[in-house]
Symmetry: C2
Subunit: 236 residues, 2 copies
DNA sequence: GAGTCAATTATTTTCGAGATTTTTCGTATT
DNA sequence: AATACGAAAAATCTCGAAAATAATTGACTC
């Protein structure tokens, strides 16, 4: 008789692919933070978390520790955990740093990418385009899927970069920027053709025009910050 | 009656400044990995760890999860934890990535640093020089202190960089490189005047010669890789 | 009223045992 | 000999309760 529902063998694993409760809890809490369900600054009390996510204290603690590593959660010894704060300054800093890393990774990826990489890229772009169409038709329940495919596209762009460390750094920064991107979407920041931006980047990448692709990617990364800045501080 | 010795209030806190057993265990295990006491690839079994570090499984699990965030430990679901592997290729990748980040951070730091920063820098350099002298006299028990002051010096160099994210990325990469640096020291890789390299960097930084300082720092970062490559692959 | 201090309450931190999964090893079968 | 199978052993993963710490309350003093 099983006492608790396991992630792998349980009847309703909350997160597909999760092989342990820690991983499932981690993925769920991360999603809730990125999505704003758990707002910035929120104190993460264990009783609340245990009720909400249905796992024990040690399991939660480990999941939260992983999130601290992602800089999505902060912790103070003996004082518990909080959802990491956000700010426009932080987003500006994040964007500049991400630009430095991602552009360099893209440069190397274009240099080293082979035919298989090109194929992956075309595929990822196509899948992203499809969900963009549906999103444009007004199906906001596809936001999670959009985020997933958008992430896939950007990760595929730099996948051929041979530097594992550069990609590791990129992963951390990209995940962070996902938080702000969702806020940007929620704030209905418009006046932007994301599809066209992606299209321009991939075309330059396939044409092996390194400088153009990097310039376009940099502009693409900067665009969300630009628009969000204007929205939040309209006077500037 | 206390059942176990606490980190803060216990009689013999293993790690100074640790406010919880998780933090103490984390710091101790990290030190042992950086120092090579726990060699690359080692399977980290809980029974062994409990015996060695004297804390419970959940506590260890959390400490190890933090180390996974530092990329000093790897984990595979349901298959436990291992000390992260090292390789010359990884070190080369790490060095290139660190160079990209640290040089940019230094550039900004020199640009934004004020008198107080200059003072901190001179102080950190002095403290480092002192321990370097003692180390040269053949007191290998000062290796931990050398590492600490070396870290302080490099962190102070970029402390005035206003980008928190750039500094965060740097912290991860620098800690990683500490592993290889210690190996390099253990392998008695010599033919190098580290003190002179540091001196050149700080002089250029204080003179606000951004380009020179960045060039020297880049060469300084690359030097360990160069020497270690030659030592491990003498044929090249 | 402001400030201390002790008692109470709330919260975090830790452990050890039990549940689950993986690995090992002996046996049988081809 | 090689493979497949299954029971036993070993290891990981999880929970819930107890211990330790922090925060709150309220009585008391100045």
């Amino acid at each position: 008789m099983e006492k608790y529902v396991t992630a792998a063998g349980g009847r309703q694993p909350k997160v597909v692919g999760a092989r342990s409760l820690v991983e499932a809890a981690y993925a769920t809490i991360r999603h809730d933070i990125l999505d704003g369900v758990l707002p910035p600054g929120l104190k993460l009390r264990f009783e609340m978390l245990r009720e909400r996510y249905g796992v024990g204290a040690s399991t939660l603690r480990e999941a939260l520790t992983r999130l601290v590593g992602d800089a999505l959660v902060t912790s103070e010894e003996q004082r518990g955990f909080r959802v990491a704060e956000i700010s426009l300054d932080d987003f500006a800093d994040l964007t500049r740093t991400r630009k430095l890393i991602e552009v360099e990774a893209l440069r190397q990826s274009i240099l080293f990418g082979d035919d298989a990489w090109e194929g992956d890229l075309v595929g990822a772009f196509h899948r992203l385009s499809k969900v963009e169409e549906k999103l444009a038709e007004g199906l906001p329940e596809l936001r999670d899927e959009f985020e997933e495919r958008n992430r896939d596209f950007h990760f595929t762009l730099i996948a051929a970069c041979p530097s594992r460390w550069l990609k590791h750094m990129h992963g951390i920064l990209f995940q962070q920027s996902e938080r702000y991107r969702r806020i940007s979407l929620a704030a209905r920041v418009e006046g932007r053709d994301v599809h066209a931006e992606h299209k321009a980047v991939i075309e330059a990448a396939l044409a092996r025009d390194v400088d153009l692709a990097c310039r376009l990617e940099a502009e693409h990364i900067e665009k969300t910050l630009e628009l969000l800045s204007r929205t939040l501080v309209p006077s500037s």
